[in-house]
């Protein structure tokens, strides 16, 4: 369920648009920020609030890569491996993380601390290689820098 405060915020956001449905991404963001992923419960809550069929919300959620369709670890690490990062050895960064966390890309550590994924271009081509953890960009990476960043995470 959305909190009363969240419901008010989402209703306020719908006023920005000709039709309330346009606030769907915002509503989903608010759900994901609270719960970490978009469950069926989340999609039903959005559907009810914006007066949309459930299948519409499901269709939107599954269209976008940033919505987590299943639970993820406390820190979601996304390593860009697209062309500009690849040319600057992003595969070494990804392999280093896989070894260090002892998981493959696409998996979550058993303690639910980390989820590791390969990402498409994140617009850091001039500061490659890079990874995104949550909202934060970490750029110009090397193995030692990755270690230092991870050791600062809870």
């Amino acid at each position: 369920m959305f909190s009363d405060e969240q419901r008010t915020r989402i209703r306020e956001l719908t006023k920005r648009y000709q039709r309330p449905q346009a606030a769907i991404l915002e509503a989903l963001w608010i759900w994901q920020e609270t719960h970490g992923w978009i469950s069926e419960e989340g999609m039903r809550a959005v559907a009810e609030l914006l007066e949309l069929p459930y299948h519409h919300v499901l269709g939107v959620v599954t269209f976008y890569t940033m919505f987590n369709k299943k639970p993820v670890g406390r820190h979601k690490i996304e390593v860009c491996t697209n062309v500009s990062c690849m040319l600057r050895n992003s595969d070494r960064i990804l392999r280093h993380l896989e070894r260090k966390l002892d998981i493959h890309a696409g998996e979550t550590t058993p303690d639910n601390r980390f989820t590791l994924v390969e990402a498409e271009c994140l617009g850091s081509c001039g500061t490659a290689p890079m990874m995104q953890i949550g909202d934060d960009y970490h750029e110009d990476l090397n193995e030692a820098k990755v270690d230092a960043i991870l050791s600062n995470l809870s």
């Binding site: 648009y17 991404l25 915002e26 890569t65 617009g123 909202d135």
Partner: protein, 424 residues
């Protein structure tokens, strides 16, 4: 050229600093003009879109109907996702008020009261920065009802995407904004007739809009005199890959690629030879290193060289680069990002990716090169939006300009001796 889009002024993102350097004076100037005069000035400047297609901006604005009772919309496209492109992000971070001022002027010119600034979801940090700047601008009366004492109402909303390359395509962006899956729409009708919620809509790239205040400040003629005559103005060139100083460089259009690579971006590490460059983001056609002499960063020069300026995201590859790996990775991207509406793109991108993986593993057979090209040719031009073309061009150009790289990766013994017929 003095940087105009990203001038080296400390704290320019703060509104008081921006104002102290003449910021928002051009909005004031525009509001004292007739909207069509503003559009005319932009037309005279020859500004062309910086989002990849190079369409003349003033002409696009002129398509917006006058005398309609429907609301009109301006969408500023900040979905920057083309691999090798990282320029709009610099504007969000270092000169957000130039973007807001440009958006307000553009909205006034086309008669839109509402502006949506659509920013890719991954840019969470820059979305926050832009929202702060928008709030500041509104608090000083540059946005809202009765903008700085005029009759004009201009509201600007920052809209966060959620991770989909296709949403940078304008019709897909509109569907995404409306709260549907981000599927591209069939054109015509074009957005100026039938856009957001069926209303007249103009969609411009972030960098394009940031150029608008510059045109009013300098005058169209002076602006048009910067850089390449048919594609003038400052352009943010993002250099990535094998260069010593990757980054975004603000240059006049028309600077030779070799000067950008060796002059601005500090050359190739280890003074290695340039094997290839992708001049304008991953969808533009790859060029051979030895063909770069005289090729410049502007629409005409790159077109003549057999590529395109795209988003001016220049990707440099040195002599040791495995180009089969490069094209396989690029194709994997387009396969992942294909929205699945059109069969040639949905199936073709996956097919090309599978074939390229065979080349990567040296498992391909001789006919595979032409088959790969045939698949690419059958995607190009046969899809609703340009993603299909964007997937086909890199493959077509890689085969055309680097066929030898593919031949080297054929399965041992699969190559037929010269003169032998296919039937033999």
């Amino acid at each position: 050229m003095e940087p105009l889009l990203l001038p080296p002024i400390k704290d320019l993102h703060r509104i008081e600093v921006y104002e102290a350097h003449g910021g928002y004076a051009m909005l004031r100037k525009a509001l004292a003009m007739k909207p069509e005069e503003v559009t005319e000035e932009v037309q005279k400047s020859n500004l062309r879109g910086r989002g990849g297609a190079c369409f003349p901006t003033g002409l696009k604005w002129s398509f917006m109907p006058r005398g309609t009772d429907k609301p009109k919309y301006l969408i500023v496209n900040g979905d920057e996702s083309e691999p090798g492109t990282f320029k709009d992000r610099q504007i969000f971070e270092f000169n957000p008020h130039l973007l807001i001022e440009g958006a307000a002027i553009a909205a006034y010119a086309i008669g839109a009261e509402t502006v949506y600034l659509y920013i890719r979801g991954e840019y969470a940090r820059w979305i926050k920065l832009m929202q702060q700047a928008v709030d500041e601008a509104a608090s000083r009366g540059y946005l809202g009802t009765g903008v700085i004492g005029s009759e004009a109402t201009i509201r600007l909303y920052v809209h966060r995407g959620a991770g989909a390359y296709i949403c940078g395509e304008e019709s897909s962006l509109m569907n995404s904004l409306e709260g549907d899956r981000g599927y591209p729409r069939v054109k015509p009708p074009f957005p100026a007739q039938n856009g957001l919620w069926g209303c007249p809509t103009t969609i411009n790239n972030v960098e394009t809009i940031a150029n608008v205040p510059l045109i009013l400040r300098m005058g169209a003629a002076a602006y048009a005199a910067i850089g390449a005559p048919k594609h003038p103005g400052p352009i943010l060139v993002g250099v990535s890959g094998h260069v010593n100083k990757p980054g975004v460089y603000e240059l006049p259009t028309g600077v030779p690629l070799l000067e950008i690579i060796h002059g601005y971006a500090g050359g190739v590490p280890g003074d290695k030879r340039i094997k290839a460059v992708i001049p304008g983001g991953s969808s533009t056609m790859i060029l051979r290193g030895e063909e770069l002499e005289g090729v410049c960063m502007d629409a005409d020069s790159l077109k003549a060289a057999g590529s395109a300026v795209g988003t001016a995201g220049l990707i440099v590859m040195d002599e040791d680069t495995d180009l089969i790996r490069v094209i396989t990775r690029i194709t994997a991207f387009y396969h992942h990002e294909s929205c699945g509406q059109c069969t040639p793109c949905r199936e073709g991108t996956g097919w090309m990716h599978k074939m390229l993986k065979r080349f990567e593993a040296s498992e391909a057979t001789e006919g595979d090169i032409d088959l790969l090209l045939d698949v690419a040719n059958n995607i190009e031009g046969n899809t609703i939006c340009a993603l299909g073309d964007a997937a086909a061009w890199p493959v077509q150009s890689m085969i055309k300009r680097f066929r030898g790289e593919f031949e080297k990766r054929l399965k041992h013994g699969s190559r037929k001796p010269a003169g032998e017929t296919a039937a033999a």
